[in-house]
Symmetry: C2
Subunit: 152 residues, 2 copies
C-alpha cells in the first residue's frame, strides 16, 4: 500500500445514519445540553451532482451537525433514492456510517486510493466543496469520507 495516502490523520467528523433526524437531534441536544440544530436537505441533483456506484443519483439526505469537541457529529436521514446512506441504513440499520478527513486534491486522492484497491463509492458537491465516500471497509473496518473545501 502507498503510505500516508490522505496526508492527514485528523478525524473531522463522525457520521451516523438515523431514521428520524428530528427525534435523534432532540435526544442529542438534551443529552449534551445544547440547542437542537436545524436539519437541512443536501442540495438537489443539479447542484449536488451525486454519483453513487458510478451512476448519477437524485438521492438526498437530511443532515444535522453537532460540535463535539474538535470534531462534528453528523446525523444523516436519507431519502429513498439510491445512495450509500440509504443502502447502508437498509442493510445495517441505524448507527455509525463513516469518519471524515479534510484533504487537498480530491481527484488525485481518489485516484491514489483506487490504485490501492479502495474504490470510490459515492461523490457529490456541496456549497464550498465536495465529498467522496471510499470503500475502505475491507482494509480499515470503517468507511472513510474525504472532504475538500474550496480555497477562499
Amino acid at each position: 500500500m502507498d503510505k500516508n495516502i490522505l496526508n492527514s490523520r485528523t478525524i473531522t467528523q463522525v457520521g451516523l445514519l438515523v431514521n428520524d433526524i428530528e427525534a435523534t437531534s432532540q435526544a442529542y441536544a438534551d443529552f449534551f445540553g445544547v440547542e437542537k440544530p436545524n436539519w437541512f436537505w443536501t442540495d438537489t441533483a443539479d447542484k449536488a451532482q451525486t454519483e453513487y456506484k458510478g451512476e448519477a443519483s437524485v438521492a438526498r439526505a437530511k443532515l444535522a451537525f453537532f460540535d463535539m469537541g474538535s470534531l462534528q457529529l453528523e446525523l444523516i436521514e436519507p431519502d429513498e433514492h439510491p445512495s450509500t446512506w440509504r443502502d447502508h441504513l437498509n442493510q445495517y440499520g441505524e448507527g455509525p456510517h463513516h469518519i471524515a478527513f479534510v484533504i487537498d486534491g480530491m481527484k488525485e486522492k481518489i485516484a491514489l486510493m483506487e490504485k490501492n484497491g479502495m474504490a470510490l463509492v459515492q461523490k457529490g458537491e456541496y456549497t464550498g466543496g465536495r465529498y467522496a465516500y471510499m470503500d475502505t471497509f475491507p482494509t480499515l473496518k470503517v468507511m472513510l469520507e474525504l472532504l475538500e473545501n474550496d480555497k477562499k
Copy 2:
C-alpha cells in the same frame, strides 16, 4: 431526559472491533503513514474486575491506539469470553463499536444515565482509571463509553 448528562461533549475516542488486530493495525499504520503501535492485552480479571450485563467476566481484548488529530482511534480484538466486544463483533461483524467521553464521577454518571433509561452494559478498571459502556443505542444510535481517569 436530564440535560447535559456527561458535562462534556468532547469525543476522545472512536472504537472499532476487528478480527485481526495485527493486520488492521498494519493497514492503519501504512494508510496514515505512522508507526504501527504495539497492541496489548487488557488486564486480567483480578485487576480489570470486568462486569458484563451485571455478571463478572474474565473477558479480555487486544487493544491498539492511533492518534488521529485530537482523538484516538482504538482497535479492539476481543477474546471468546462474554463481553460487549465479543457479542457486538459476533452480531454485527467488524466496524465501529463506540465513541468515548472523559467524565468525572463515574458512579454518579452511571446512576444518572440509568435513571434516564440508559443501562450499564459493561464496566471495568484499567491502570489509572475505569470505563463503562452504556446502552445509548436506542437514544443516540451509537454506544457511549465513559472514561474516568484517576486524579494525579
